[in-house]
Amino acid sequence: MVHLRRVGVAVVVVATLSILAAPTAAAHADREVVLPDGTGSVPAYRTADEAADVLLVCGADETDFERRVADFPPDLRRRNLELFADCQASGFATLQEAVDAVTQPGTNIYLLPGEYLEQPSRPEPVGECAELDRPWYDGGHYRYQILEFDDQIACPTNQNLVAILGIRDLQIEGTGAGPGDVVLDAGYTKLNALRADRADGIYLKNFTAQRTTFNAVYIIETQGFVIDQMVGRWNDEYGFLTFAVDHGLYTDCEAYGNGDSGVYPGSASDINKDRGYDVDRYSVEITGCYSHHNLLGYSGTAGDSVWAHGNDFSNNTVGLAMDSLFPDHPGLPQNHSKFEDNLIYDNNEDYYRYVRDGTCGLPSADRGYESGVVCPAIGVPPGTGLLTAGGNYNVFRDNWVYGNDYAGFLLLHPPAFVRGEMGLTTQWDTSHHNTYIGNRFGVTPDGETRPNRLDVWWDGQGTRNCWQSDTGDSVPLRLPACGAEVGEFSGPQTSRLFAEPATLASLYVCSEYSLNELSIPSGCEWLGASGLGRLDVQLTLASSVLVGIVGLLVWWRRVRHSRPAGIATTVGVAGLVLNVIAVPQWHTVLPAVALALIGGWLVALGIAVRRAGHGAFGWLTVAFGALALIHAVDKAVVLLPWTPLSPAWFRLLVGAVWVVWGLVVAAPSRRVVPDAAAEPAPAAA
């Protein structure tokens, strides 16, 4: 139904002005998956003695090997040399060969120091594997097929450098002194360096995976996994992607140079979806990880029931992001994750410069990821510590959040149609019940003061979101306050359907970012617009000019002899000017002051106009002014509870009528009827 879809799109464009996320960019595309049943457990680390079988993988060049282990501690060096000798006798030259040789659960594979290019896996598929009849996902600069599990079995290296398919309790461990000593390098020839698919109980330890057009490590539809002391770097999309998983653990990992995120626990098992604030267990735990110099340190489309604690998310464009933006992720909308005791700082890398200068238009291998280039897969606001674009019942507590040049925490609401769900009742199913307590803003663990520009930016939508009362600068200026513990509140709470109109329009414009087209929307403050270039400034300017012209005309034509009305109009014009100037100062009382001045003017003008004989229009003007005063209170004193919409929406609706009516009241009414023109004319030519 192309036509209905188009009508739908048109209606959406016309009617909504909504929201973030380039709908063309799926966070990631794969076959339809099923979330695990939750019966497994996090696998424990196994020594070689505890393993059911041991397989070795190494290169053939002894001199090279000895050079690689020369600086290891003596015991480790000795062990590696012994392993190398064994490996030369009975080992494998590639990891894929070893994986293919696994015969029983509980096998350990040891990867000896070296660089594994996996040459046999690299060539393009041929024969039947080149002609699989499956849909293609078009990512713009690259495209790939959406393969089923059976396709992966039949053609394991179509998309993967190393494929671990349906093997249980496999442990793969690098035997170097650190993860940098063993490198699995895809050289941008494959989507994934290592894919573990339905590989329950997999344990990956102490090696690096890198340089892919999608993920370094991809674990999918798997119950029980550990990513331990691993490095994932220099990928078009993700360092570590785990999808449709339960009983997972990321520990002591490092991820950097990834165009989407360093760690991505997407569609983690949705085990708490029917719960409130109380949570039994989490499906994925992330701790001790260092994710830096990525677009996002962490991302979680449908990252449900993730517990991230004790990690370092720094020097990314955005430290962490979770969302409900992309279709085909089981477990949407995102919910019930907990982030505590993390370091979230200095996430100010503006990698969009590589889009602007065309670097990201080059093939992946030529972009220079290894020297610090990152090509942003999606549009996000640089300088943000933690971004939630749709999520429920998340807890953000006791984190150190500092030095982020835009905002420490950012929360906004994407309606469900953005992720392709059109049901009316689901449109507002996200960005509720998020709790931000006990975080330390603008200060390092050493006590150094390192403020965020804003501690919080919130679009104002959602029910029962609350923030700690010691939050510093924020947009909006007044936030609903949490109590001491999760699920407790202090003061009035709000429940609103939409962000304010100008905010909503700005979010919509920001969503037009596209890496494929190398386009950065103008007007989006987050992506570099400033001053009059900002859409919210433009909209405020346009509305102020309209209100100003009509207000001045009404005053001049109807009540200019009233002295109080004249004074009020002067004040009102000052308020209109301030209203525009104050847009970038939304974390201060300036916008509220501007609204108060405008409101006072309109009330006074309305009273004067009413006395001058335009009763109905006078009352409308008073009402329009009163709404501005209420909006000022909403901005500066307390976010008003009880209302499903910000006063800004009521101002917009009343203002549209007022401007037109004002024109009717103010318009001159002389006319001349030309005799000639009204008569019919003969046909021309």
């Binding site: 799109v9 007007g523 009717v664 001159p668 002389r670 006319r671 023109a677 008569e679 003969p682 030519a685």
Partner: protein, 417 residues
């Protein structure tokens, strides 16, 4: 059949500014022009059929019978060529120029020429030529017919003819096949010539779909004939002011508006059956007409007059012209070029549009916004002339709201077109 039907080209994402800015800016421009004329245009300024400066040279050319007859014969020969090509050439639009002439030159080129020169089809209409030659051949007063066309008929026959053409173009299963084209032209010519035999050559004034089509867009031309018969150069808004309300005119204009919107929404013929397409086209026309008549009714209620719809239909013409340009101008250039190349035996043209996508998008947005702004001005001038001073502004509000909404929808459709 490839490009002929692939109109609605130049999608909105080629705009050099975000779509939001285009839509919001367009709506604001329409609204601001309403405010501006409301405040600054206090009395009717348009003089319609008495306005304009004589264009002596043009008048000399146009009013020289030899030149008129030469033009008529050239167009008649062209029409004959198209019919012969359709009847004898291959049934493949890539090799046969007939479809290119019908959909490119006639359907898109005719309004373009009319926008520049006035209602030109009245001069060169080949059916009118055939009819006149036939009357002169029998040497009687056949040219005046047996009856006068009844007044109530107005533009309704033209509306029916236009609907048939639009249906053929947008809904019929194979619009570019020679069979379809022959069937349409044969039936159409037969009906028109029969009616002309009955009602005389006056029939073509309002009964011929293409004369009405040309007439409507010709009312925006900078050239026109003043009431005293002199060919003049004048403000296109004065040309627009000469539109004479007649039965069926609202239907003609609403059909033209609705057909471009319908076409934007149905880019692929495969998406719907003929029945569904017919229903969709009828629905689009009905909704467009209902919106206009509804707004006119509200305006009438505000100003205390019973029916104001006839007085403002001219304000829809620039809007229709804007959408026509936005929708078809790449088609005009490319299809005309293709048809000419095929006519003179050249090879197929190089692939690709001669226009940069950004240029296409900018022209589209400007065309739509300009059309609406001109519509607002034309409506305003008419309102201050027809309405009481007290209600002159408020009476325009329904139409202004309609125009703002249509601007938003129209520009948004660019994004999906």
């Amino acid at each position: 059949m490839g490009r002929i039907l692939a109109h609605g080209t130049g999608p909105g994402h080629d705009l050099p500014i975000p779509l939001f800015h285009a839509v919001a800016g367009g709506a604001l421009a329409v609204f601001a022009s309403f405010l501006a004329v409301g405040l600054l245009w206090q009395e009717s300024r348009l003089r319609g059929a008495v306005a304009g400066r004589p264009a002596a040279v043009v008048g000399l050319i146009v009013d020289t019978p030899a030149i008129r007859w030469a033009l008529r014969l050239v167009v008649l020969a062209g029409a004959a060529y198209v019919v012969i090509a359709a009847a004898t050439g291959p049934d493949d639009p890539h090799e046969n120029p007939a479809a290119g002439y019908v959909y490119g030159v006639v359907w898109v080129g005719l309004p373009a020429a009319s926008l520049l020169l006035g209602p030109v089809w009245r001069v060169v209409n080949p059916l009118r030529t055939v009819h006149e030659v036939a009357c002169r051949a029998v040497r009687n007063d056949a040219c005046t017919g047996w009856y006068s066309p009844p007044a109530w008929l107005g533009y309704w026959p033209a509306a029916a003819g236009l609907f048939a053409f639009v249906w053929m173009e947008l809904v019929s299963p194979e619009p570019a096949s020679t069979k379809t084209l022959l069937w349409f032209t044969g039936t159409y010519a037969h009906v028109q010539l029969t009616a002309a035999a009955v009602f005389g050559s006056r029939w073509f004034d309002r009964g011929d779909a293409f004369e009405a089509y040309s007439e409507v867009f010709g009312r925006l031309a900078p050239l026109g004939r003043r009431r005293d018969g002199v060919i003049v150069v004048r403000n296109p808004l004065n040309s627009l002011d000469t539109v004479v309300a007649a039965p069926g005119l609202v239907a003609v204009v609403c059909l033209l508006l609705a057909s471009t919107a319908f076409d934007s929404l149905t880019p692929t013929r495969e998406a719907s059956s003929v029945a569904a397409g017919t229903l969709g086209l009828l629905t689009a026309v009905a909704i467009t007409t209902a919106l206009y008549l509804g707004c006119a009714a509200v305006a009438g209620a505000i100003v205390g007059q019973r029916d104001v719809s006839a007085g403002f239909v001219h304000s829809l013409i620039p809007i229709a012209a804007g959408y026509l340009i936005a929708h078809y101008f790449t088609v005009l250039v490319e299809e005309t070029e293709r048809a000419v190349v095929l006519t003179f035996g050249g090879n197929q043209m190089a692939a690709g549009s001669p226009f940069a996508p950004e240029l296409v998008a900018v022209v589209q947005v400007l065309a739509i916004v300009t059309g609406h702004v001109l519509g607002v001005i034309a409506a305003h001038d008419r309102a201050v002339r027809l309405f009481e001073p007290r209600t002159a502004i408020s009476g325009q509000i329904p139409l202004m709201v309609l125009m703002v909404i249509v601007t938003i929808i129209g520009l948004s459709l660019l994004a999906v077109g």
